[in-house]
């Protein structure tokens, strides 16, 4: 909303945190960090830190919600009360969290072979520990590896990243401050091997040309994160073998 009040791109083309427009923040993926959950992961995009846990396939409670031909996928996205900058966030679910729970479920659902487990539920919990922009995208990346860690058959992993526009320049992986002052913020989730988009949102204004360029930019970054996901999964399962 408050356009151009803050200079987000310096003369040398660098962003406020020193990154180039197409540069991601440092990304860290840790898998299997919870004992009880069937699958779990923590993903960090810079200062953004999101935990994802997966339970299931398990019995559906309440029973009447089960579907005869497939597993139901349930998802809750939530920000911990101390995860935000400034004031404490009320723990009651906000409208934003309700929408994002749906958006994240719909981003992951196409990847899960849910018809292999009829009459069961697969529960995905996404908890934002620290928010600095890109919590839904980090949440999707985390939930995808948590699902893989739970041994749930999938068509592909899902990777998400945001592309935005700052002072007229297209950039990837916006941090909190950039997000707040951006002209556009477009989170995208893709199944990288299949090249299928499972989530696409846009908050802001883009011209059709910008939109095309933003898509290409996102795919590039998503492939980089995809490699990190696969490497993190390999790391965990190689240690188990030894």
């Amino acid at each position: 909303m408050k356009l151009n009040k803050i200079k987000l791109i310096a003369e040398d083309g660098r962003r406020i945190d020193g990154r180039l427009p197409e540069e991601l923040r440092p990304i860290k993926i840790d898998i299997g960090i919870l004992k009880n959950a069937d699958g779990s992961a923590i993903v960090e995009y810079g200062a953004t830190k999101v935990l994802a846990a997966v339970y299931g396939p398990r019995e559906v409670v309440p029973r009447h919600e089960e579907l005869a031909d497939r597993a139901i996928i349930r998802c809750r996205y939530r920000m911990l009360s101390f995860s935000t900058q400034g004031e404490r966030k009320s723990p009651a679910p906000s409208r934003r969290e309700i929408e994002l729970s749906k958006v994240i479920r719909e981003a992951l659902e196409p990847a899960i072979l849910s018809n292999q487990y009829p009459r069961t539920a697969i529960d995905i919990f996404v908890e934002v520990i620290n928010a600095d922009g890109g919590t839904r995208t980090a949440g999707i990346t985390a939930a995808a590896v948590a699902l893989a860690d739970a041994g749930i058959p999938m068509l592909d992993l899902v990777v998400a990243v945001a592309v935005g526009k700052l002072n007229g320049v297209l950039v990837v992986d916006l941090n909190g401050l950039e997000d707040m002052n951006s002209e556009a913020d477009m989170p995208i989730a893709i199944m990288p091997s299949l090249g299928k988009i499972t989530m696409l949102q846009l908050n802001g204004v883009l011209t059709p040309e910008d939109f095309r360029k933003a898509l290409l930019l996102a795919i590039n970054s998503i492939n980089k994160i995809y490699e990190l996901q696969k490497e993190a999964l390999r790391r965990k399962y190689l240690t188990v073998e030894e």
Binding site: E99, K102, V103, M186, I197, T198, L200, V205, R212
Partner: protein, 278 residues
């Protein structure tokens, strides 16, 4: 918690029949695949509202109303009016809607419309200040789905835009000494300042076909949809993919072209429909 919705049996059985019709380039109701149903707008259906609209898109009916109230601005935008969008699927609209607070679908609908209006600066909120830093107009836009037959987002956006375009700010006076604002709703001061029209174009994917404005039955067998918000100046001012389906990059580019073309067409139609009202 967001949960996989139940799919309905009848449209599932009819799936191949629906797909067959669409493969020939037609909707089930014999429209061309890229054609909208007839749009019909009735104004001032609730005279107590500052503006109210009943919009029919085929059999889908949306009621949108606006109430203007005097409120306090947000500290970070002391001279800007406030826009609040809410939506509700009333239980009368479909046998599957239940009474209760808005569910995730209604919240998503309201937030898509809110974002499209806000990011495009469709309403000149900066002209809604009454006493700088102290009093501004709060614009409450409430959307009720009265009858469901597909394409609720596009219908709701059209209803909202039609209601906004026909809103008048009531006559008011500011008492300079006490700062109290007196409002006389029997008189109008000016039309609500609108910068640009915005519409949404939702494209649903049925099988491998892309269609606009599906009826309820078609929507039930669609794997997913993408909503593009398009402004009068031909910019994309919002996107939301919904449903469990996926789209390839090529499909997304195709869908964008459809949205830009259809968006322009619908904005022109909406302008005609809102012209000369009140």
């Amino acid at each position: 918690m967001s949960s996989t919705p139940e799919t309905f049996l009848i449209p599932k059985i009819k799936y191949s029949a629906i797909l067959n019709v669409i493969s020939k380039g037609f909707h089930v109701d014999r429209r061309a695949i890229m054609e909208y149903r007839q749009i019909n707008i009735t104004y001032n259906v609730a005279p107590n509202a500052d503006s109210s609209v009943l919009l029919r898109l085929g059999n889908t009916q949306i009621l949108a109303g606006i109430k203007l109230e005097i409120g306090q601005p947000f500290p970070d935008s002391p001279d800007e009016g406030i826009l609040i969008v809410n939506a509700e699927y009333i239980p009368a609209a479909s046998p599957v809607y239940e009474p209760g607070p808005p569910d995730e679908n209604a919240i998503e609908l309201a937030r898509i419309i809110d974002r499209s209006l806000r990011e495009s600066k469709a309403i000149a909120l900066d002209k809604l200040s009454i006493v700088s830093g102290k009093k501004v107009w709060s614009l409450w836009l409430d959307i009720y789905v009265l009858d469901y037959d597909g394409n609720l987002i596009d219908a709701s956006m059209l209803a909202s835009m039609a209601a906004l375009a026909t809103t008048y700010i009531p006559y008011y006076e500011v008492d300079q000494t006490t700062g109290i604002v007196k409002v006389d709703r029997s008189r109008k001061s000016m039309p609500l300042p609108i910068n640009r029209y915005v519409v949404t174009v939702t494209i649903s994917k049925i099988g491998d076909y892309m269609v606009v404005d599906p009826i309820g039955e078609e929507e039930a067998v669609a794997s997913g949809s993408i909503t593009f918000s398009i402004s009068e100046d031909n910019c994309i001012v919002g996107i939301q993919k919904r449903g469990m389906g996926v789209f390839s990059i090529d499909e997304i580019e195709k869908v964008m072209e459809i949205a830009l073309n259809k968006g322009k067409e619908i904005i022109e139609l909406l302008k005609k429909l809102t012209m000369n009202i009140k």
